[in-house]
Amino acid sequence: MSKRFVLISVLLIVGMLVSGCAQKTAAPPAPTTAPAQPTTAPAQPTVAPTPAQPKKLVWGVAMGTNCLDPAYQTGLPDSNNLVNIYSAVVKHKPGSLTEVAPDLAERWDVSPDGLVYTFYLRSDVKWQYGYGDFTAEDVKYSWDRMLNPDTKTTGATVLKVINSIEVVDKYTVRVTLKVPTPPFLINIANTGGALIVNKKAIEERGTDYCLKPVGTGPYQVVKAETNGTVVLAASPDYFGGKPAIDEVEMRVIPEESVAVMALKAGEIDFMIVREPANIAALFKAGPDIVVNGDPQSSCSTYALWLNNTRKPFDDVRVRRALTHAIDRDTLAREATEGLVQRRADSPVPPALFAYTEDVTKYEYDPAKAKALLAEAGYPNGFKITVDSMNTAFNPIMLTIVQQYWKQVGVDLEINYLDRAAIRQHQAEGNYDITVSNPTRAEVGLILDYYKCQNFPPGPNFSLYKAPDPICDLMNAQATENDPQKRAEMIKQIQQQITNDVPNVLLWYVAEITAARSSVKGMIPNLGSWQTRFYLFDIVK
């Protein structure tokens, strides 16, 4: 080869390098905070009786982490790591969405009027990385911090009912609520915002805290990158004993079909599955792969939210017709590759408190749908637009619904928007139909989606105006201390909602996870933001 040609190629490459680096050198150096190094080296397990190889679990997720501070978490990778780094006062009883179990609190009392909660805390809890003993002061600090407007957090909604927090003694804390809130314990078990943080660590680490958090949970952060990966190691200080898996690495894989290949090839052990096509691929993957997702324990109702203030959805006959027009059992089965067999009849998911089957049901009946449409004055149907994100079950569900509605003369135009645009439309109430699956582990929070005062920007996406007594009932159930009475109220609400069909209920969506069969101890019905790795084990 000619020397000159080689020279040119080298020059070329150097040129690229220079031009690539020019931006870096031209700009002043960014604050020299290496984002990923914890101040303290990951503590070696003091006792290492097992000579066996450390067990490592790798899980795949589509987005990177941003902030591992309960106050500023912004999505699934954050929240999923949070529950493993921190402890809460109470946590979900494994496998249940309606019962709580002790976490930092060993036991608790509730006053008869439902206003005062007294938590008796564990005395053997230590903060990670040598930040001292956990005390009642930490609980007060954490929750006061969340409630302080200067913190500018968005994760404190369920704590808003707190009137005051009082430290009784070193290991006892008393919380007084503004109004009786029967699901208070479930709510604090369920939200990342209620996790307990350490004042000293937050103040010391300042802006670095997001990537160098300190908790009392089973895992501590070894390495966390902005918008990237998180590596957790079993905390030697955890009060619940050393977890079975020593190291947990979160790997960011934006393309889900690649994550599926990686899972099959054994490069990752666990993943959360969003796209139905990939569920199908995993079902066919053979005995090495286990797919989890039990719709019976779902806390999420998938629905088409019809804008009840717009024509033609202001007519209940039209809403009923559209529900009758879809064979929702087939839809659920085909869209989920058989994972879900049945449609949703009640807005409340079956795993939640006060779910009832005793509601108005809408069978597949295209003839009836046509008749109802004709009765409402639309014998030739109409044209309508749905706003939706182009992810998860939406595309397959909408494409099938489009076909069903076409048969009764309703022409559905699908308008795919990205998450940001959808959010804006939902906040404005600006759509004919929008798609959403409210995922709430507490029935009261599900009912928020139907409350009369929650018109957009609130979450009442159907802009559904329930009859006044039912509106009152929806508010009253939130403070009803008698479980029996509350259940009865919620049942009545469900019956009214299904009678008015503000939205077309589709099916109960389960969080779908897939794992290598060597991963044991997964509890399928915890929401994906509650993947607790200390319950896992790897048995080869």
């Binding site: 096509a277 199908a280 066919k284 182009n390 135009e413 990205d418």
Partner: protein, 301 residues
């Protein structure tokens, strides 16, 4: 005459005028295009086949491309479904046939938009010159500094997805390229004797532009348009991959390739066939474009 602006920043294009006798020229041109290098013939064949399929979709396709049959999902190629069925039980062949129409439409419309906007900008800049030229040039240079896909991505985020918006986004993202090439062509055409002569005898601006200049920049435009149709078809599929594709039930190749990627093992035909079809289509346009470039003797940076 206005000053000829400096051409450093926009690249120079040399252009040789083809021989004068029209008939001889055409015959020579066709021979060069189709015969001297057979790839041109192949490209032409692919593109013609595509146009025939697109126009005749209604006759050629055995079923309605939107017709779902949920009992017939993931069926491999067979006698009833020559290319198998997709994840909705829709006939893949029909979707590909109808998809040809959609893809051609996207490609041609996108190019038409960029030609219209970019052409107007380029012509104005090159013909008027002076401050106008400088302003247009700097705008075009600014837009050229955006990576193409990112520009299309941002435009589509603003407009929202949908077939027309996708055409518009791809078209607009190509505008700077058209403007730049056209302006450079114009500058070189203007120097030609016959244009100078026409100016001297007092021909109107419109006459000069349409009678003398446009015919002379045509060949480079034809080449550019052919290759940009290929780019448009590819960009449409990339946008589908990023979740911003054409809406269902419109059978778009881009969406088919993007959705098919998950079925690589379970139903490989859903993943492979639309991808191969896109590949062949783009190959056809690229080969044709390259051969046109050779045959018309157009050089571009």
């Amino acid at each position: 005459m206005t000053r000829l602006s400096d051409d450093n920043l926009s690249g120079s294009i040399l252009f040789e005028k083809p021989p004068s006798s029209a008939w001889k020229m055409r015959r020579r041109f066709l021979r060069r295009l189709l015969w001297t290098r057979k790839t041109g013939g192949i490209g032409m064949l692919i593109v013609l086949a595509l146009i025939v399929v697109a126009l005749g979709a209604g006759v050629l396709a055995p079923y309605d491309p939107a017709d779902q049959d949920l009992t017939q999902r993931y069926k491999p190629p067979s006698e009833t479904h020559l290319l198998g069925t997709d994840n909705f039980g829709r006939d893949l062949l029909c979707r590909i046939i109808w998809g040809a129409r959609i893809s051609l439409q996207v490609g041609v419309m996108a190019v038409a938009i960029s030609l219209l906007v970019g052409g107007a900008l380029g012509l104005t800049a090159g013909y008027v010159g002076g401050v106008v030229d400088q302003v247009i040039c700097s705008v075009v240079e600014t837009l050229m500094a955006f990576p193409f896909l990112l520009l299309a991505l941002t435009i589509i985020t603003v407009l929202g997805p949908g077939m027309f918006n996708i055409m518009l986004a791809i078209g607009l993202a190509s505008v700077p390229m058209f403007a730049r090439v056209l302006r450079a062509e114009l500058l070189s055409a203007r120097e030609k004797d016959y244009v100078v002569a026409a100016t001297c005898v007092g021909a109107s601006h419109g006459r000069i532009v349409f009678k003398h200049i446009i015919p002379n920049v045509m060949s480079s435009m034809i080449v550019l348009m052919t290759t940009r149709v290929a780019t448009a078809v590819l960009t449409e599929s990339s946008l589908s991959f990023l979740g911003l594709g054409i809406r269902p039930p419109t059978p778009s190749w881009g969406v088919m390739v993007a959705e098919g990627r998950a079925f690589l093992e379970r139903a490989p035909w859903i993943a492979l066939i639309p991808g191969a079809v896109v590949l062949v289509t783009v190959l056809g346009f690229s080969l044709l474009g390259d051969s046109l470039r050779d045959a018309l003797d157009v050089r571009m940076r």
